[in-house]
């Protein structure tokens, strides 16, 4: 054992420089794992401790309809039974706000929250500056708003804004409030008013999209019972009950998922480093053959020698992992600087490397180094000391021990991945995917090298030898193709997907498509809104006014499907348990086509409905079946008379799953929506919104241009994040490349010396190297690019369901940049090959 330790120390001392790059790859991967896990754990701690604050209650009971009187009685009784000590109510609804000052012709959608005095039961509303939140600030039409609203409307604290039909004075700016999720999608900035003042706005008309919430403080041991009981009480109603615990659980699950999936990305980088370690170990052993033979000659056993190198690999793996932890620490230390003076929850987290993340990172780094070096190290057994007497080649053989080692290593890798992803299925899929990708890259590499083979007969000496070098013994072609190809694949793939998505959105917001959406138009306002939109002075283009109602399927009596109650529907798992927005009309839209049955063109007193094809297939609904829908408390049994194919991508006028025949729903309570083409310029659009809301205060306007901006912003952040990951993979690829060049330099130095002796000048050898790495880079770029094409095709077709487009520019740029990068790194890492004097090299051999 002492010998093993001493030799491991000596070998590490002698060869750490040569192996450095490969362990930097391990370091990068470990840094990614440790940093991602630590950051998520830090943020999670904030969210976990804020779970009550997020709900602002122990138990939250919510509905998006008027509270039915009976439900209120039940809630009151249950809360009393559970010993609830305190409660407060809020109502949230998106609405348009505008400056009361008529000279400012602008309006903006905001998320209105009307609160009672006890709000919030947990957490706190924090105001900007020195002000502290007090409910009295909201008294007498006071309002608190997010700072961004001031900029959008050009108003200041002290000014008045109009919400619906009432004016409110801005009394402060909200820095932070309970229940606002970081990064959550919102339709606009928060505006907070007194619950008592909400009526004066006139926003709570029938069918408006208001979320009514009852926040309750309940003794901790009664929470779960209360939630269970209320869920049972309201299983057939549109009333939702949840506790801070379920929120905590949900947040916990979300974070677990995020942590595990992000760690997988880090693991992929570590595995890439592992593949490099495997390759370097193979070359390293080739270089150490004589030393190993000498050790065997002076009495060392194979097991002792393998132990020496395993210890060396683990030492370097440990050093790489520790470096990774240090890198992660440096990155994490920079986060507060990056967040600056932000007041979001993210800025409240205490960022640091968590012990568990560091331990996991180090464990993975060492384990991957070990797993990937074991199989090549087993070749030590076949090195015979007799090769010291005469030149013998060591034959690589696969024996039972090597096969067993491969099986154990594969199983261990699957276990490692499954552990990181916290799912055996994901572990198996990722490992199989990686193995598949490696096999594809391997064969693609071989195929491409074979395609280039004719160039080995080229008249150009440098080109001929550059091509021959790709398949020389001990070449690093495969490992470079895998590492660099994978990096190129990530980056080109992500960039293509981004371009594809953005162009898809641009298509949807093309010149003729509706780019504004009016919501909550009340039935009596329909003619007024129609006249407003037709008035050319407002600048609106084409529009359509559509009546909508919310409905839920509560039963089916059909040929294949029979569901007696709403509970049956929910349990059926046929995706028909959710709430649907329905309409009625006497014509088909251009994006609709009848597949079965017949559509109507006249009203009827008998309820008839046309069902969208995909849903009908999922729920096994047929023409002639009867479906029961709860439409705002009234149950209507309608006969399915047709099945419609809807082209959702073209659904400019809104796509509907259920379309009723006019006659039955015409007089039911309903609101109207209007997809429309808004005015052309931002100023006209702002004025249009202002004028419309001035006339119809309860109507909300969604401006797709703004939404698209939000989507662009989110996408650019996502793309940046994925590009950073792709960049890390490419960076690892570059390190592996440098390391591979350095490892095989001994061969190159000798060849260069022979070439120089035979008359080749430095320039010729430099051209040879440039061509060799240029070709290698092009191959890696092409493989990555081809992979990216497959990726974008798969994701476009199956995940995003958008048409597949090829962005030739991205792919061509990817191939060119990869080949330039690889050629530059290859030549720069080989500078001493060019500089060495041939005689010294030949003597040394």
């Amino acid at each position: 054992m002492r010998f093993v330790l001493q030799m491991a120390v000596r070998e590490t001392r002698a060869s750490w420089r040569r192996l450095l790059f490969f362990f930097v790859c391990i370091a990068v991967g470990v840094a990614a794992i440790v940093a991602l896990r630590s950051v998520i754990q830090s943020v999670r701690n904030v969210f976990g401790s804020e779970a009550r604050g997020l709900l602002a209650a122990d138990v939250l009971i919510a509905t998006n309809r008027e509270w039915p009187a009976q439900a209120r009685t039940t809630v009151d009784r249950r809360l009393a039974e559970a010993g609830s000590t305190e409660r407060t109510e809020t109502i949230e609804t998106p609405t348009m706000v505008r400056p009361t000052d008529k000279s400012k012709a602008i309006a903006k959608m905001a998320e209105l929250r009307a609160v009672q005095s006890g709000y919030p039961l947990y957490g706190s509303v924090i105001l900007q500056g020195t002000d502290t939140y007090s409910y009295s600030l909201l008294h007498n039409h006071g309002t608190l708003v997010r700072p961004e609203l001031l900029t959008a409307l050009g108003v200041q604290v002290g000014d008045q804004i109009t919400i619906g039909q009432a004016a409110f004075t801005i009394r402060g700016l909200i820095a932070m409030e309970p229940g606002r999720r970081v990064g959550g999608f919102s339709l606009g900035p928060r505006v907070m008013i007194d619950y008592a003042d909400l009526a004066s706005t006139g926003l709570l008309s029938f069918g408006s999209r208001a979320d009514r919430r009852l926040h309750a403080r309940v003794p901790d041991d009664r929470i779960d019972d209360l939630v269970r009981t209320l869920r049972d009480d309201f299983k057939d109603d549109f009333i939702n009950t949840r506790s801070y615990r379920s929120t905590e659980d949900q947040i916990g699950r979300d974070f677990d998922r995020a942590e595990n999936y992000l760690s997988l990305v880090g693991l992929i980088i570590v595995i890439l480093g592992g593949i490099a370690v495997s390759s370097v170990t193979r070359v390293f052993i080739l270089q150490k053959i004589r030393s190993i033979a000498v050790l065997k000659c002076v009495g060392a056993r194979s097991a002792q020698i393998i132990a020496v190198y395993i210890l060396q690999v683990m030492t370097l793996g440990l050093a790489g992992s520790l470096l990774g932890v240090a890198l992660a620490r440096a990155v994490i230390a920079a986060i507060p600087l990056a967040l600056g003076s932000s007041t979001s929850l993210l800025a409240q987290a205490h960022y640091g490397v968590s012990w568990s993340a560091a331990a996991q990172g180090i464990g993975i780094g060492v384990l991957v180094s070990l797993l990937f070096s074991v199989v090549p190290l087993l070749q030590v057994r076949f090195i015979k000391p007799s090769l010291l007497l005469r030149d013998e080649t060591v034959r690589r053989r696969a024996d039972w021990l090597a096969i067993a080692a491969i099986v154990v290593v594969s199983a261990a890798l699957v276990a490692l991945t499954a552990w990181q992803a916290a799912s055996l299925r994901v572990g198996v899929v990722v490992c199989a995917g990686f193995a598949g990708l490696a096999v594809v890259l391997h064969f693609a590499g071989r195929g491409l090298v074979a395609l280039l083979a004719p160039l080995a007969n080229s008249r150009s000496f440098p080109l001929r030898h550059a091509v021959l070098h790709l398949s020389r013994p001990g070449n690093q072609t495969r490992v470079i193709l895998l590492a660099v190809g994978l990096g190129a694949f990530f980056i080109v793939g992500v960039r293509s997907l981004q371009a594809s998505l953005l162009s898809e959105f641009s298509v949807q917001v093309d010149a003729s498509a509706p780019d504004m959406f009016l919501l909550d138009v009340q039935k009596p306002q329909v003619e007024g809104v129609r006249a407003f939109l037709r008035d050319k002075s407002h600048g609106a283009g084409e529009f359509q006014l559509i009546p909508v109602m919310r409905a839920r399927v509560v039963g089916v009596a059909g040929r294949e499907t029979t569901l007696e109650s709403a509970e049956d529907v929910r349990r059926s798992g046929m995706s028909i348990g959710r709430e649907f927005t329905i309409t009625y009309r006497d014509h088909l839209e251009p994006n609709e086509r009848i597949v079965e049955g017949a559509f109507w063109n006249t009203p009827s007193a008998e309820p008839e409905v046309s069902v969208e094809l995909d849903l009908a297939a999922r729920a096994h609904l047929h023409v002639g079946d009867t479906i029961r829908l709860d439409i705002l408390g009234r149950t209507i049994a309608a006969k399915i008379t047709s099945l419609r194919d809807v082209e959702w991508r073209e659904s400019r006028n809104g796509g509907f799953v259920f379309v009723f025949r006019p006659g039955v729903l015409d007089e039911a309570p309903q609101t109207w929506v209007a997809p429309m083409k808004g005015p052309a310029t931002p100023a006209e659009r702002a004025r249009f919104q202002h004028d419309l809301v001035e006339r119809f205060p309860n109507v909300s306007v969604i401006d797709f241009h703004e939404i698209l901006e939000t989507i662009r912003d989110v996408m650019s952040k996502v793309t940046l994040a994925i590009s950073v990951v792709g960049g890390l993979v490419l960076f690892s690829g570059a390190l592996i490349l440098i390391g591979a060049v350095a490892m095989t330099k001994f061969q190159r130095v000798y060849e260069a010396a022979v070439f120089k002796t035979l008359g080749a000048n430095t320039r010729t050898i430099a051209r040879m190297l440039l061509l060799e790495y240029g070709v290698l880079g092009s191959l890696a770029g092409m493989i990555g690019s081809l992979g990216a094409i497959v990726l974008t095709w798969g994701v476009s077709k199956y995940a995003l369901e958008i048409p597949w487009r090829i962005f030739a520019g991205e792919h061509v740029a990817g191939v060119i940049l990869t080949s330039v990068l690889v050629a530059a790194i290859g030549v720069l890492s080989s500078l001493d090959v060019l500089r060495n004097k041939p005689l010294a090299t030949l003597r040394a051999e």
Partner: protein, 248 residues
């Protein structure tokens, strides 16, 4: 005692078998200094490798102190070499990543010797390299490297030292120095020394000679027990063996 019984070695040359060593039997008593001579390709190094257990014979058996080493596995052979056989190569074969001292200490460390450090320093002193112990092989001259290799061969005080053309890669002065050291080791320690050389002058320094040609013994001056020296075949040498270059 080293004993070879009908030992032969055949290798494949392309698809054809090629016999490097024809069946050969001999005994080398303990404390003998024997030189194996013969032209290039006569099978000298192969014979030495078979005695050291570095290579396996195609037929016959090799016994060291009555242990048939052809029946031993790789690990047992390694252990036997560590204990009983020291080896000196023509091309030194020092481990380039280790210093002179470490190269000498390695066999003792493998054997688990407690006083490896002191003994390694002592051996380096014995071969005249006291001040060079922390130099790497690349920082030593050829003669110095071979002296380190010799010290390494003596590390576990083996009863047998096998030397394969130990002067073949050295100038004559250094070659002479190495031979003097081998002689001294033999005389002082009573170590059995088997020296492979194609230099007749060097072979003269040995007590006995074994001459090989084309894989067969053509002369054997070894005395075993009460047996007379055996002359297997007196073959007039048509080409004289190359002599070592005179010292410069």
């Amino acid at each position: 005692m080293i004993e070879l019984r009908e030992v032969s070695k055949t290798v494949m040359s392309g698809t054809e078998p090629l016999t490097i060593l024809h069946p050969l039997s001999l005994q080398i008593p303990h404390g003998e200094f024997v030189a194996i001579v013969g032209p290039s390709g006569s099978g000298k190094s192969t014979l030495l490798g078979l005695i050291a257990g570095l290579d396996a014979p195609s037929g016959g058996s090799v016994l060291i102190d009555s242990v048939d080493i052809t029946r031993l596995g790789e690990d047992a052979l390694a252990r036997l070499r560590g204990e009983k056989v020291g080896f000196v190569f023509q091309f030194f074969h020092l481990i380039p990543s280790l210093t002179a001292y470490e190269n000498v200490a390695v066999p003792m460390e493998i054997a688990g010797a407690a006083d490896a450090r002191t003994r390694a320093q002592g051996l380096l002193e014995e071969v005249g390299l006291t001040g060079r112990s922390h130099h790497y092989p690349s920082q030593l001259s050829g003669g110095e490297q071979q002296r380190v290799a010799l010290a390494r061969a003596l590390a576990n005080d083996p009863p047998i030292v096998l030397a394969d053309e130990p002067t073949g890669n050295l100038d004559s002065a250094n070659g002479r120095h190495i031979m003097d050291l081998l002689r001294e080791i033999h005389d002082k320690r009573g170590t059995t020394i088997v020296l492979v050389t194609h230099d007749r002058e060097l072979a003269e320094m040995a007590d006995a000679r074994l001459v090989l040609r084309d894989g067969r013994v053509v002369e054997n001056t070894l005395q075993v027990g009460d047996r007379e020296p055996v002359s297997v075949a007196r073959v007039e040498e048509r080409e004289p063996l190359r002599r070592a270059s005179p010292p410069r």
